[in-house]
Amino acid sequence: MKFLTLFGILFLIIQGGSLYSEIVVEDVPNDAGEALMITWDLPDDVGNISMYRIYRLDPGAEDYILVGKVENPNVNVFVDHDPRYPLHAGTEFVYKIVPVDFSQNEVESLGTSLAVSPVAQLFNFNKVNSLIATLFVFAALIFFLNYAKTGKGLFIRKIAGLDALDEAVGRATEMGKPVLYVPGLSTMSDVATIASINILGPVAKKVAEYETKILVPNRDPIVYTIVHEVVKESYLEAGRPDAFDTDQVFFVSQQQFAFVAAVNGLMMREKPATNLFLGMFWAESLLMAETGNITGAIQIAGTDSVTQLPFFITACDYTLIGEELYAASAYLSRDPILVGSVKAQDLEKAIILFLMIACSIISLIAVLAFNTYAFNQVISAIFSF
């Protein structure tokens, strides 16, 4: 009997070696238990195989279902993560791999796996870099806030665009024309919109003090309701609640180019003396900025959309580039606590700059002298967040 078994094993090895094919199923880490990774040994007769089909047996099911295929016969890894055939954490699944020959016929299965269940993780280790960076920013912020509370002055460089705000509102007052403020076209989920609203508060207050008119067209209804309240509160704070006209802040349209048409029309009809475009913008940035340029308005723009910055720089008198938009509320209020937060950003930038230069030099030395793979992996991991 033992002789026959040994003979059988030897026969299978000679025929295709599938007996030694092992199918290993492992949980994909750092996910919600929605994926499993299947690996298998390549059969000896891989030259006769065109692809592999991966079948899965779900709990309670009688038949295997086809969940995917690997079209390169030399690849022996497949990740099962298809929303059409979802996996559930804690549920056991069995897999079998079936090779397909060049006539598209399925040949003998490479075997079946053990039952394995995906595991939902409590922490995504791929985001460790983000966590470290966030904690560092948090620590730096707290440090500078406490430093600011001691009363020691913190230097903040001049930002021409923000210095010009007073002049811009003053110009509108002298000319007896309104100020147009566009808080971007994005939603409240966009931090640029919040940053824009933070600037709108002081601007609206100044407008109220100067007894000028401000026009704030909105694309998003949630942004509209918040902006309406901010402008109203600013008028109240300036001691001019009577001067607030509810129609100064208005909803236009959620359609991108309909909004642009309305704002451009407004610019051409009302001829505002000052146009402020602060927030998130897309293709409409140049359409609005050029129209404002044609009407002769003084224009201040600010956005964190890198692709739109060149358009604003070209068509506007002043442009807040990227982070200047976020520093604006600290700059305008001169509140030491808010200025402290800007200093925290500066510290983080200095550290990033130092890390970039240091890692570049070390990497260069490593490539020239050692060329170690592990070292390069460490460097790329540092910069992967």
Partner: protein
């Protein structure tokens, strides 16, 4: 004060910290919490549209009442809004009815396309202003722009290598510098809002 300041700040703090923690937890409970929050945003957004429409009607009816020379635009805006809404709601096949889809395809889409097409003329006029060689930096910009523009057209294929180098190295380096600043600005602003340091968005401060 409680409803205008304390409660909103408390909600922002609790939800801000919760969403921050959620970002690092892939567990299904964490995912469903995020889905719930996203659904709430959509629901609040739907209600906010009503407020937006109220503003729309208020502004335009006031303009019509004043009977100034531009009030015709307000009439067109209100008639278009009500007309499209009624056709969509009362039409035989809902949004698929022929009148609604024709109005969409032959009025809204061409109007959108027209506005977008204007961009090409505006880019030409902006480029004219940007590429004036007033100083050394502006001259460098002009030269770079000419190289990149020539390299992007068929007869400038001999410049492909140089264009590629400009786009991949100096251009990407400058963009990344700005992006790092933006990223830090976003994190700092978010933390300031979560911790209640930045309150300007509540108005009055």
């Amino acid at each position: 004060m409680l409803f205008k300041r304390t409660l909103p700040l408390l909600v922002v703090f609790v939800l801000g910290i919760a969403m921050m923690i959620q970002y690092f937890i892939p567990h299904p409970i964490s995912q469903s919490f995020k889905e719930g929050a996203d659904n709430w945003i959509r629901i609040i957004g739907a209600f906010a549209i009503v407020l937006g429409l109220a503003s729309f009607f208020h502004v335009h009816t006031r303009k019509i009442m004043r009977k100034n020379k531009d009030s015709i635009f307000s009439v067109v805006a209100i008639v278009s809004l009500i007309g499209m809404a009624l056709i969509g709601i009362l039409g035989k096949d809902g949004l698929d009815n022929w009148l609604f889809s024709n109005l969409y395809s032959y009025i809204i889409v061409p109007l959108d396309a027209t506005m977008f097409s204007l961009l090409s003329f505006y880019i030409a006029s902006a480029a004219f202003k940007a590429f004036k060689a007033r100083n050394a930096m502006a001259f460098a910009l002009l030269v770079t722009a000419i190289i990149v523009m020539l390299g992007r057209v068929s007869f400038g294929s001999f410049l492909n290598g140089l264009v590629e180098w400009i786009m991949v190295y100096p251009n990407t380096a400058a963009q990344r510098g700005i992006l790092i600043g933006i990223g830090l600005g976003i994190i700092a602003t978010s933390l300031k809002i979560i911790l209640g340091i930045e309150r300007s968005y509540l108005g009055g401060e």
